[in-house]
Each structure stands twice: as structure tokens, then as C-alpha cells.
């Protein structure tokens, strides 16, 4: 049964410097509060994994938590570019950022392989693109029955995966619905996992389209109302589209970003490498 703890305790216990950490949530249910807690606790040298590094990863990268990014699409959805991500890749600020770049299909299959206890996944992908020239984790594999050649990608098995969900019960059983993305796979692929939830309830009323993760498959649950803001939690609150638009201005300038970290993530400082 997953233990129910505070967000600060969960991050302190589960996320260590140098870890490979995945925060997942496809537009919906992005664990922003957990991301801020990682910044607040000053974690360093993380390998950050995420299909769609958007604003929360821009913040983590800008704050100097990351050594490496494993991803398939890094942008501010509906707005434009991620300026902290760009600044790290183009100008190594606040430090150099190694990248390992895949397609969505590849990343999804890497999580599936990780969740399945397999060392690799197979897909029809990457053929003819320039990705395999720059990404070491794309290989060719031959079908033993037909001789056909396909792409293989290694399993993703993060040290910690963090996702946000609508609800958990007191045994740590987790319930989410709406767009469920790759959250189940991310949690099952990881050695340790944290689920932040809108609320802890006595009984999980069934909801159409729900996905339930048994408490015994989750390490820690933390109750964090609005923990996905500015993304949304279906049934709880809407996406704060203004925040995403405002982020463009905040993140464009290093000093504005520094002030944002100091003021918003309560006193955390950006240290440059």
C-alpha cells in the first residue's frame, strides 16, 4: 500500500541528486507542484525524462536541476518555444544540457517496454529521419519470422516517476480519468513513484474512462490540491491558458526568470554551472 505523505517529504525521500526522473502527464494532469518542490529542494544533475517537456521542465531546466533531457517534443503548447530549454541548449545556461531525442512513438514504446520488464520495444519508426544519426538509443532489429527490419528502442526505467491524479483512497489506490497519457507506463516503469492527487477520499467512486493504479504499485501519494496548475485536472479545474502565455514573457529573460524562481518557488535560487 502506498504511504500517504507530504509533498516535501515525498520529494526529499524519493528524488536524489543524479537520479533519472520522469514527470509525466500529456497536457492534462502535469505534476507542476512536484516540479516546483524539486526546484525548492535544490536537486541537481537530474536526467529529466518526459515526452513533452513543457513549462514545468522549462522551469526545472532554467533552475539548474537538470544535466540531461530525454524527450520527444519540447515546446510551450499553444504558445511557442521554451526559452529556458532553448537557452540551455543554445547557450548552456545555467549549465550545459545533454539531450536524448526521440519521437513520441519511440518514447511511448520505451515506457511500455520499461513497464513490461522488457529491455527494449519495437516500432515502425525513425526510418529516413535524421534522429538515429544523433540519438544513440535507436537501433535496428530484424523480425525472426519475416526478415523485416524495424526500429528498436531501449526500455525507460526511471529511478523515480512522478504523476498527478484526481484522487487516491486511504490505501493509496490512485484514480485518474480524462486524458491518461503515458502515466500508467511511467509509474510502472520506475523503481520508485510518487503520485500527487487533488484529494484523498474514503472511497473511489467509479468514473467512466478511469484508470486505477493499485496502491501496492505506487511508492508514495501526496495530497496536493491544484497540484497540476497551470495544466488542468478534469473534473477539478480548467487549464490556465493565461499562465502559459505569461510564461513566454517570464522565461524569455534570465533575470525575469530568476525573480520568478525566487518569488514563486519560495526562495529557491538559480545557480549557474
Amino acid at each position: 500500500m502506498a504511504e500517504i505523505v507530504s509533498l516535501a517529504d515525498a520529494v526529499a525521500e524519493l528524488v536524489h541528486d543524479g537520479d533519472t526522473v520522469a514527470l509525466e502527464g500529456f497536457t492534462h494532469l502535469i505534476p507542476h507542484a512536484a516540479g516546483h518542490e524539486i526546484i525548492r529542494q535544490g536537486r541537481r544533475d537530474l536526467t529529466l525524462v518526459r515526452m513533452t517537456p513543457d513549462v514545468v521542465y522549462d522551469q526545472l531546466i532554467g533552475a539548474g536541476c537538470a544535466r540531461k533531457l530525454v524527450f520527444s517534443w519540447g515546446g510551450n503548447p499553444g504558445v511557442g518555444s521554451l526559452h529556458r530549454f532553448r537557452d540551455a541548449v543554445q547557450h548552456a545556461w545555467p549549465g550545459p544540457l545533454e539531450i536524448e531525442e526521440h519521437s513520441h512513438a519511440g518514447m511511448a514504446n520505451r515506457y511500455v517496454a520499461g513497464a513490461s520488464g522488457l529491455p527494449f520495444g519495437v516500432l515502425r519508426g525513425y526510418a529516413g529521419t535524421d534522429l538515429p544519426r544523433h540519438t544513440g538509443t535507436i537501433a535496428e532489429i530484424t523480425c525472426p519470422f519475416t526478415g523485416e527490419r524495424l526500429a528498436a528502442v531501449p526500455a525507460l526505467n526511471p529511478d523515480v516517476s512522478i504523476v498527478h491524479a484526481q484522487r487516491a483512497d486511504r490505501h493509496g489506490n490512485v484514480q485518474l480519468w480524462g486524458l491518461v497519457g503515458v502515466q500508467k507506463e511511467a509509474v510502472l516503469a520506475a523503481s520508485r513513484s510518487l503520485v500527487t492527487v487533488e484529494e484523498v477520499v474514503d472511497e473511489l467512486e467509479p468514473v467512466p474512462g478511469q484508470l486505477v493504479l493499485p496502491g501496492w504499485a505506487v511508492s508514495r501519494v501526496a495530497e496536493v490540491p491544484r497540484g497540476a496548475h497551470p495544466s488542468y485536472a478534469q473534473g477539478y479545474y480548467e487549464r490556465d491558458n493565461d499562465y502559459y502565455r505569461r510564461w513566454d514573457a517570464i522565461s524569455r529573460d534570465r533575470d525575469t526568470f530568476r525573480s520568478w524562481v525566487r518569488e514563486t518557488v519560495s526562495g529557491a535560487e538559480v545557480t549557474t554551472a
Binding site: E101, R124, G128, H134, L179, V180, V182, E185, Q234, E238
Partner: protein, 257 residues
């Protein structure tokens, strides 16, 4: 949408582009809707002449029927109005990869004469790019597996290049036979819709050729906005101007969001 409506026509070139793109989607076409401009066009088509259009988003929705323009490809309205909400791995593995989708609808930062798409980096050095773009997302496999691909992109010399700096998604590779050699099942980019006109691949050379200009657009202007010596189809036609209904529907869609 950038630019105000031109006084002489009453619509912007972006509006013309979205409407031309929307018109390309008909009937019960299963359309994989990429991020950005394609979503506007696909939603416009569904709201006007193609109510049966099946919209599929990589965020995990089959058959979304939003009554406003989704703010992103993961907008809650897409899940709430879908026939079925599925996981992201399922979208790619069970629905896209086996070739169940008729049209992949993509945007592009750079596009080359063979319809290859770059959304990764601008500049020659991947490790030290001039501009770091968002990356691949779902596009490489959308471009590979959909039966055909429509690209919606604003046409400039910077975006329409001789050869993309980075092949994120394959169009026709380096020319005829390349898709087959790579084992890509779909027909590739059969239609490129821009703010100036429409390009189609030459069936022999696979090179994108101007087949249609939007009303009031000069062919020379299109040539100047293209980074390779652009061929023009001998059967060049002019796009029908947006109807009042189309413009009203488009503006209703984009204003509400």
C-alpha cells in the same frame, strides 16, 4: 492568426490558408491532427462541410467533436467529446502504426522541395544549433504511417528550403522510390497548403510543384517565397475565395478560444 484582413478581400492570407486546408478534408476521413495550424483547419472542416470527419489527437482521443477550438492538442474538450479516450502508447501502436488513419495533418518549421519536414533544429550543427525547435513529437510516424499527409505551413524563403537542415519527418526523402526503400507505407505529403497557394508532388519527380494560387496572389511572389526554383503546374488554378459562411465559421471558432 497574424495580419489583419486585407481591405481589398475582407480576409487574411492565414484565413485563406486555413479555409483551403479545411476544404481538403472531406466526408468521414480519419484525420490525425498535428499541433498548431492543422487543428484550426480540421476543426473548421468538421464545423462546415465535413461533419463526419473523424479527428484523432495524439493526446489519446478518437473522434473528438469539440465545439470550440482546442487550446492545445491535449485540451480537455477533446477528451470530453471523444468517442473513445485511449492511452498515448495505444494511439501510436494500435491506431497510427497499422495504417488506420487516412490523413496526417502536419505543420512544419522548414519544408523542402521533396516535402521533408524539419521541426528539430535550424542550422547545420545539431549539437550547437542556431535555433532549437520543439522536436519530433508524433510527426515522424504520422508522416510515415498515415495513408497521406497534408502539410499546412506559411510560405517564406526561410521555411521553404532546398533541403531541410534536419529531417524530422520524411516526405519523399531524396526523390522517387525513397519511401518504398525506407518501408514507409503511406503515400507521403500529397498536399501542401500555404498562405499563398497549394503545392502537390510531381508524380514523376516527387518534387513539390505549385498547382494552385490563392486569389490575388502572384505566381512570381510565390516563386520569391520559395527557397528552390519552384515549378508551376501547367494546369495552375486559382483557389476559390473564402465564402461568407466559411469565414464566419472560422472566425467563430478562433474568437471563442
Amino acid at each position: 492568426m497574424n495580419a489583419a484582413a486585407r481591405p481589398e478581400t475582407g480576409y487574411t492570407s492565414d484565413e485563406m490558408m486555413s479555409i483551403a486546408a479545411a476544404r481538403a478534408l472531406t466526408g468521414g476521413t480519419r484525420c490525425f491532427v498535428g499541433i498548431g495550424l492543422p487543428s484550426t483547419a480540421a476543426n473548421l472542416a468538421r464545423r462546415t462541410h465535413a461533419p463526419e470527419l473523424v479527428l484523432i489527437y495524439e493526446s489519446g482521443t478518437l473522434g473528438s467533436k469539440p465545439d470550440r477550438l482546442p487550446a492545445s492538442i491535449g485540451d480537455g474538450i477533446l477528451a470530453e467529446t471523444a468517442d473513445s479516450v485511449i492511452s498515448v502508447p495505444e494511439v501510436f501502436n494500435y491506431w497510427l502504426q497499422p495504417g488506420r488513419i487516412d490523413v496526417g495533418f502536419l505543420g512544419a518549421a522548414q519544408l523542402d522541395r521533396f516535402g521533408n519536414i524539419n521541426t528539430t533544429v535550424i542550422g547545420d550543427d545539431y549539437a550547437d544549433p542556431k535555433v532549437r525547435l520543439p522536436g519530433a513529437g508524433g510527426a515522424p510516424e504520422i508522416a510515415g504511417s498515415c495513408r497521406e499527409v497534408f502539410v499546412v505551413v506559411r510560405q517564406t524563403r526561410r521555411s521553404f528550403v532546398e533541403r531541410v537542415d534536419f529531417v524530422t519527418s520524411v516526405g519523399f526523402g531524396r526523390g522517387p522510390g525513397d519511401r518504398e526503400r525506407l518501408g514507409l507505407p503511406g503515400a507521403g505529403p500529397t498536399l501542401v497548403i500555404t498562405d499563398l497557394g497549394i503545392l502537390r508532388p510531381d508524380p514523376e519527380t516527387c518534387e513539390l510543384v505549385l498547382s494552385q494560387v490563392h486569389p490575388g496572389v502572384d505566381v512570381d511572389h510565390v516563386r520569391e517565397s520559395t527557397g528552390w526554383p519552384l515549378d508551376v503546374s501547367p494546369e495552375l488554378t486559382t483557389t476559390e475565395a473564402p465564402t461568407e459562411d466559411e469565414l464566419r465559421a472560422l472566425r467563430a471558432l478562433t474568437t471563442v478560444s
